[in-house]
């Protein structure tokens, strides 16, 4: 069974259609990259998958592990194994990273009918998973994302992903605002979580992240549609030639 099966998905905001019919299937073990110029609908796709209410779905269907994803609440999507690494992670003053994650992990466990983790076991798990993104344990006691640098916030997203162990992770421009060292750290953290059972969708504007997280499939999103799909070489081609040729091609086809 595929992890994610998107068929003819149309969605928009305030009557304006942004996604104009997306088809995409992600199978276990696969990494898909979705690339495209600004305003092509990449982040909208991520938001719609996560269930953000601002967006209205006007057509198509999304199956997640055989369930109708669009019928599920955002928290149920999360508990079912869908994770979104936010492009702009939110700061929550007064709520420590540890407390936030403890609540999140225990909500996931409760949904699976499991008991909350013992505090000592939870601490050990957090410390181990932080190492994946080279985060210092002192971050656990700091308010979530408050005063974190851009790179620290992105590392924190990947750390949260490691704690929640999603079936499908959607990384929304996780590379934006990262210097080359942070990019490598974040990519290593993601790669460590690749397995034959889970899938990853990497949304990015630039090819450079894909040097570190090597995708199995690359899709180009433009004007609300996937206009071209290919292997990892497609990303290199885009890097070399830019998006204009894709746009021109798509216009000819349309």
């Amino acid at each position: 069974m595929s992890l994610l099966k998107i068929n003819g998905l149309k969605a928009g905001v305030e009557g304006k259609e942004i996604l104009k019919g997306i088809d995409l299937t992600v199978n276990p073990g696969e990494v898909h990259a979705i690339m495209g110029p600004n305003g092509s609908g990449k982040s909208t796709l991520a938001s719609v998958l996560a269930g953000r209410e601002d967006f209205e779905v006007s057509g198509g269907s999304v199956e997640f592990l055989g369930q109708d994803l669009l019928e599920m609440s955002p928290e149920d999507r999360s508990r079912a194994g869908l994770f979104l690494a936010f492009q702009y992670p939110i700061e929550i003053p007064g709520v420590s990273t540890a407390n936030f994650l403890k609540t999140a992990v225990n909500e996931h466990r409760k949904a699976r009918g499991e008991e909350p983790l013992e505090p000592a076991a939870f601490l050990a798990l957090m410390r181990e998973r932080m190492k994946l993104v080279e985060m210092d344990p002192s971050f656990l006691q700091r308010s979530l994302n408050e005063g974190f640098s851009g790179g620290e916030k992105k590392r924190n997203e990947i750390f949260q992903m490691a704690m929640l162990e999603p079936k499908l992770a959607v990384l929304d421009e996780t590379d934006s605002g990262l210097d080359i060292d942070a990019l490598r750290i974040v990519a290593n953290g993601v790669n460590a979580q690749r397995s034959a059972d889970n899938g990853i969708v990497v949304i990015t504007h630039y090819q450079r992240l894909l040097n570190y997280i090597v995708p199995d499939h690359v899709h180009v999103l433009w004007n609300g549609r996937i206009v071209r799909s290919g292997g990892k070489d497609l990303a290199l081609e885009l890097e070399a030639k830019g998006y204009d040729w894709i746009k021109a091609e798509a216009q000819v086809e349309a």
């Binding site: 508990r79 003053p93 407390n99 403890k102 999140a104 013992e118 505090p119 601490l123």
Partner: protein, 514 residues
């Protein structure tokens, strides 16, 4: 198994931060705390006022209405000495000439003071000598409230002076306290057994004519707690009182007096829940604290009187006068309050910093939801030299409620080098509620240092969506964020109260989003 006050605070910190690694070893011993944390989240899904029940204990009632005869009746009922009756009558006559305050930022229908019952007491069966002899129905009531006396006794080491309506029903731990010379008893008994102390201190901090409701309380107060800590004694346990209003139309007028003699320390906890009802109820308590030289009084409150229903019907009117005086040098008074209940709250726990180098503190979380109104804050009156005060106020407004902070910092001419720090934060949930801040500052001494910080924030959709995406539903997210926001105040509470306070915050904000 009794926890020392130091130990208690350590566990508290672990609990509130969630996981504080340096204290992980103690955490395992207290898995109960973690379970309680889970209960906070679980309880969020309940939607009715949790403590809305009425126990069926036979009542002894006085007819409605207030006159000199009412005052005499109450005094006679309690076999009070002549001076106490005269004191009450003086207050009553002053009250007749006073008017209800109009300046608070709250609105409520005019109160008919003749339509209130001023005396109600549970009928005594046979003076109970132990818990076994206490009315089982009463014990069941406490169990429903989540404060089983026995468990409190065994697990927490807290002496409980449980007040149901107006008469104290059960006092525990008297023996241990007696050994240290600590006096902790119902006010009515203190008047009989320690008349000198009561006569010396009652009304010394809040005079009978201080304000309309203080005068009313002085005239008709039914009972309350009396505490005296002798010189140099560190009270061996947290003293705790639970109040409830349990009779229809019964106004409740508690009177509490705490005296910490030189070099002593006491931590006093007060918590309340009230049964659900339609009529509005008046609650006008007076609390007086006196700290002599080098003494410290820590007074904590969790207030959860019935707030009225979602449409603003019913609920308690909570008009309270709480004031402490740092009488001696280097004394300290610390107020901590978590206010989640009442339809209307009007309350300013204050410190008169008379002794040189004395310290006053005020930590407050005030939650208003639905149609609740709160006008609360503090007064810090700096009189002595090098006096210091600290104010941390966290207001949380939801629904169509109105939440006002009102605080006065006054530095007298001879208060050299006085210092104040005030932090007043407001958190808004939704866009129909109101948060207001009224800071007053009067400085008559140029050496004073006064700092005021204020912030306003909102639990917006972005934060909630982020939490949802991590599997945390909206109610749990609000509880998580609010507890985080209120952490600086909750950290000041002893552990048992912090647990209760966290539950109350979550419960009182149910249904506030989406």
């Amino acid at each position: 198994m009794a926890l020392g006050s130091d130990g208690t605070r350590r566990h508290l910190r672990v609990f509130n931060i969630g996981l504080n690694w340096s204290y992980i070893a103690t955490l395992n011993e207290h898995t109960r705390t973690m379970a309680d944390s889970q209960q906070v989240l679980d309880s969020v899904v309940q939607s009715d006022y949790k403590y809305g029940f009425e126990s069926d204990i036979e009542q002894e009632l006085l007819e409605k209405g207030l006159s000199e005869d009412t005052v005499r009746f109450i005094s006679a009922k309690k076999n009070e000495p002549e001076w106490m009756l005269e004191w009450r009558l003086k207050a009553y006559r002053q009250w007749l000439k006073m008017a209800e305050p109009q300046w608070p930022n709250v609105k409520y229908p005019k109160i008919d003071f003749q339509d209130i019952i001023y005396w109600a007491a549970p009928k005594k069966k046979e003076g109970p000598a132990s818990l076994d002899e206490v009315d089982p129905e009463l014990l069941a009531t406490f169990a429903k409230l989540g404060i089983p006396l026995e468990e409190q006794k065994m697990l927490t080491g807290v002496a409980v002076d449980a007040v149901l309506d107006s008469v104290s029903v059960k006092t525990t731990f008297q023996e241990a306290l007696k050994k240290e010379g600590v006096i902790f008893m119902p006010m009515s008994e203190a008047i009989q057994e320690h008349p000198d102390l009561v006569q010396k201190y009652i009304g010394s901090v809040v005079p009978t004519n201080d304000n309309f409701y203080a005068a009313l309380n002085s005239a008709v107060f039914s009972d309350g707690s009396f505490v005296y800590i002798p010189k140099g004694v560190r009270c061996p346990m947290e003293l705790s009182t639970y109040f409830r209003i349990n009779a229809r139309n019964t106004g409740q007028f508690e009177r509490t007096l705490i005296i910490a003699d030189e070099g002593s320390y006491v931590s006093y906890l007060e918590g309340c829940t009230a049964p659900q009802r339609d009529e509005n109820q008046l609650h006008a308590a007076v609390v007086e604290l006196i700290a002599h030289a080098d003494a410290e009084i820590k007074y904590s409150t969790v207030q959860n009187w019935y707030p009225g229903d979602k449409d603003g019907h019913g609920g308690i009117y909570n008009f309270v006068t709480k004031r402490g005086i740092c009488e001696g040098a280097r004394s300290k008074i610390s107020w901590t309050q978590v206010e989640t209940g009442s339809a209307v709250t009007w309350k300013y726990p204050s410190c008169v910093l008379k002794g040189d180098d004395s310290i006053g503190e005020f930590y407050s979380v005030a939650v208003t939801n639905h149609h609740q109104q709160a006008d609360t804050g503090t007064k810090m009156l700096h009189i002595g030299k090098n006096t210091r005060s600290r104010i941390v106020s966290k207001g949380i407004s939801a629904g169509v409620s109105q939440n006002s902070y009102r605080g006065l910092v006054k530095i007298n001419a001879r208060a050299e080098n006085a210092r104040n720090y005030s932090q007043c934060d407001s958190l808004l949930i939704g866009d129909q509620c109101g948060a207001h801040t009224f800071p007053y500052l009067e400085t008559s001494n140029p050496t004073a240092t006064v700092e005021h910080e204020a912030t306003t924030s909102k639990i917006g959709e972005d934060i909630l969506f982020y939490c949802n995406q991590r599997g945390i539903d909206t109610e749990a997210a609000v509880a998580l964020i609010v507890n985080g926001y209120a952490r600086d105040v909750l950290n000041q509470l002893p552990m048992e109260f912090a647990v209760e306070a966290q539950k109350l915050l979550a419960i009182s904000l149910e249904g506030s989003v989406g």
